[in-house]
């Protein structure tokens, strides 16, 4: 049974919900069972957020557990570290090299860990880093970080590029389609 488990981790407000919507749309068009699980509410206010996307012949649990993720899509470095146990050993780990200090770091009660990417690379062979914020800015909006990241992810699946572009067209507001497609291509070319 072929199945793919994708975990999206980041900080509330980074647009992970749109990401999961696009991934879900892609999932449907692959003709398999799909479940997407996300948490709304308080954590969306700058908290740690995680979304699970599972595709396969039959998906029971909507959540991904430790050691199960085929792809770990990280919108922020500290969040990559927080959820790293969920990745399979050979998972594609895609990390946006953006740092958002959590309040305990801002108030000096905790330290932001150093060299996160190196530490993860020491244990996992397939780690890609993405300067998604700069790439999104180059497309005209820092809000497109999420779609840049989807582009990077898309390249690492065997789902056709056109399927992804279709999903973006179906999901984002018409006035933002061009910007998002450009952002996707920036990520896809990495």
């Amino acid at each position: 049974m072929r199945s793919t488990s994708i975990m999206i981790v980041g900080v509330g407000g980074q647009g992970t919900l749109l990401t999961s919507r696009i991934l879900g749309t892609v999932g449907i068009s692959t003709g398999t069972d799909v479940k997407v699980s996300e948490v709304h509410g308080m954590s969306q206010r700058g908290g740690s957020v995680v979304t699970y996307v599972k595709m396969g012949d039959k998906v029971h649990s909507p959540i991904i557990e430790k050691g199960e993720a085929d792809i770990l899509l990280c919108f922020e470095e500290l969040e990559a570290l927080r959820w790293i146990d969920y990745a399979k050993k050979d998972a594609s780990i895609i990390i946006n090299t953006q740092r958002i200090d959590p309040m305990p770091v801002i108030t000096g009660k905790a330290k932001y860990p150093e060299n996160i990417v190196e530490k993860i690379k020491a244990d996992y062979p397939n780690v890609v880093t993405v300067p998604a914020l700069e790439l999104a800015e180059a497309c005209g909006s820092i809000k497109a970080v999420n779609v840049v990241m989807i582009g990077v992810l898309a390249k690492r699946t065997d789902i056709a590029e056109e399927t992804w572009l279709d999903a973006i067209r179906k999901t984002v507001k018409p006035q933002f389609v061009d910007l998002n497609i450009e952002a996707f291509k920036k990520g896809y070319s990495l």
Partner: protein, 581 residues
């Protein structure tokens, strides 16, 4: 063609297909989207009620009037709506009446972890529990049928993972359900003692019939597999158990109250060891034990928090998931924070500065509890801030009231703060209540409420005037203030807590996430001027960070609300690209 739908969206679709006509609700995570999606169907009248009690009463009225009716709420909302629920169980229904209640195991966005099944049992109301989006839709349609067949309100219980997971759903057509005729029937609908005594008999007889139904309905069914292990489960726990146990035998319960005793006995007789897998309370387990069936559940699995397949594998099968890395790094927690530009930040900065005791309430502003603002002292339930401030004054004396304020949001004040304020006036209290009026219901994701002037459909409507409302209940000192005008706000709060009569301060500024709210663009810090006194960091703005050698603004987060410029004594903040930007 199947569609990917959130559990809550599938519920709304089920309500639509079942031909329902009226939906009323108060928002509450994780139930909010049910009513938001219902509002997209013009065939259904939908509304935001001031609170869950009113919402349920509206739905009961619509049902008595002959329509299929519904209301949705989170678990703690059912406490508010418990009064009508317990007696609606006696009156029964005319049109089908389905109540959606979303529990929040793990407390992603809640103040407690209560289990709705226990309340339903106390109210003697049947409960269905779907385990994915397709079942959300199918069970909703079934719930309306059961409600009408047995003349009872019925609860569909969700949990966060079902409500907020998307799964594939096969859509159907809307049934054409005509309005049932309404006939005056005081014996059924007027619950005075003489009538209620008769209706209680009906309720008990109905429960027996529902138990029979529970044994027969395909909502409850056995999936025979390996007979060594038998699993009794329902809802999201079914999905976790399927992953953990694979080919074991399952008794999957879609109707969890009343429980199917015959079916449970049949299942128990067919397997060697029986486990009950259910999040939160041992509801199914206790019932099985009472029946004399030796099941294992909470002795192995926790009463607290969410489950997952790994947890079940570890606790029951003794298979612990292997750690795949050598990373032992301490990861700092990332609690939610008030957004950049949040109007609440100004208020809590001032309250902390004045060292006041703050009785708090439910909403985004509960985040005022966390460092560095750390100004909230209590948070219990919707509206509690007002009554608790009054209680503290009565216990600790008038001087305490001079050092105490209640803080409550606009929507929460309408929900259940007004009654507390009336209590203060009537009982000669002197408390100060601060209403955080941000023009929207914020935490649940921007729903309109009676103070915003718009309905759920975005149509203009009569807006509650908070000033007049507070004056009308007898508060003579009502003042309106911008929470970003720190100087004035401080002065006003000082005066009002000192006053020997009740007072209300309305801190008015719209939520920073509202589309019409525009700021001036990101700021940066001029390092020449900055003395690193860190006054700005006391605001708890996630965009201002201390890099050790210097303090800087994160341009990706800063919206340019300029609150920091008001606390900086060295004029160190400047707009990126100059003030014309």
């Amino acid at each position: 063609m199947k569609q990917l739908m959130l559990g809550n969206e599938a519920i709304a679709r089920g309500v639509y297909e079942a031909g329902a006509k009226v939906a009323s609700a108060y928002p509450g995570t994780p139930s909010t989207e049910i009513t938001e999606y219902i509002a997209e169907y013009d065939e259904i009248y939908s509304e935001w009620a001031p609170n869950e009690k009113v919402a349920l009463e509206v739905a009961i009225g619509a049902s008595v009037g002959g329509a299929r009716a519904t209301c949705a709420m989170k678990h703690v909302g059912l406490n508010v709506a418990a009064d009508p629920l317990f007696t609606a169980a006696y009156t029964g229904v005319n049109g089908g009446l389905v109540i959606f209640v979303a529990d929040d195991p793990g407390m992603h966005s809640s103040q407690n972890e209560q289990d709705t099944r226990l309340i339903a049992r106390a109210a003697k109301v049947p409960v269905l529990e779907p385990s994915d989006s397709q079942e959300c839709k199918d069970f909703t349609r079934k719930a309306f049928e059961i409600s009408e067949q047995f003349d009872t309100p019925i609860i569909v219980r969700l949990t966060t993972r079902v409500a907020h997971s998307q799964g594939l759903v096969e859509l159907g057509e809307r049934e054409d359900i005509p309005l049932k005729p309404y006939a005056k029937d005081p014996g059924k609908y007027v619950m005075m003692p003489a009538m209620a005594r008769k209706r209680h008999v009906v309720v008990e007889e109905r429960l027996e019939k529902l138990t029979e139904y529970s044994n027969e309905t395909p909502l409850n069914h056995i999936e025979w597999g390996d007979r060594k292990i038998g699993v009794i489960t329902s809802g999201i726990a079914y999905q976790y158990a399927k992953e953990a146990f694979g080919n074991a035998s399952f008794l999957k319960l879609g109707m969890v109250y009343p429980l199917p005793e015959k079916l449970i006995r049949e299942f128990a007789a067919g397997v060697e060891t029986i486990y009950v897998i259910e999040e939160l309370e041992p509801f199914i387990e206790d019932h099985c034990l009472k029946m004399g069936i030796p099941v294992k559940g909470k002795a192995l699995l926790p009463l607290i928090g969410e489950y997952n397949a790994n947890l079940i594998r570890e606790r029951i099968l003794g298979q612990k998931a292997e750690k795949l890395n050598n990373i032992e790094e301490e990861v700092p927690v990332r609690p939610p924070v008030m957004c950049p530009g949040c109007p609440h930040r100004g208020l809590f900065y001032v309250l902390k500065k004045l060292k006041l005791t703050v009785t708090g309430d439910i909403g985004c502003y509960t985040l005022g509890t966390l460092a560095p603002l750390e100004s909230m002292d209590t948070c219990v339930c919707m509206g509690a801030s007002v009554g608790m401030a009054h209680g503290m004054e009565k216990a600790m004396g008038r001087d305490a009231a001079r050092k105490t304020v209640a803080v409550i949001g606009d929507s929460t004040f309408i929900h259940s703060g007004i009654t507390g304020l009336i209590g203060i006036v009537y009982n000669k209290g002197t408390s100060t209540v601060v209403i955080l009026d941000n023009s929207i219901t914020g935490m649940t994701g921007h729903q309109h409420n009676p103070t915003t002037g718009f309905t759920i459909k975005g149509e203009p409507t009569r807006q509650v005037d908070l000033v007049k409302l507070c004056q009308a209940v007898g508060v003579d000192r009502v003042r309106v203030c911008d929470p970003f005008d720190l100087e004035t706000l401080e002065k006003v709060i000082k005066e009002e807590v000192a006053a020997d009569e009740p007072s209300v301060v309305i801190a008015q500024r719209p939520c920073a996430l509202l589309k019409h709210v525009k700021f001036n663009g990101a700021l940066r810090i001029d390092r020449e001027k900055c003395t690193r006194c860190k006054m700005c960091m006391r605001l708890g703005c996630p965009a201002i960070v201390d890099r050790g050698t210097h303090v800087e603004v994160n341009p990706a987060l800063c919206v340019g609300c300029d609150l920091c410029t008001k606390v900086c004594r060295f004029n160190a903040f400047e707009r990126v690209g100059g003030d014309h930007a």
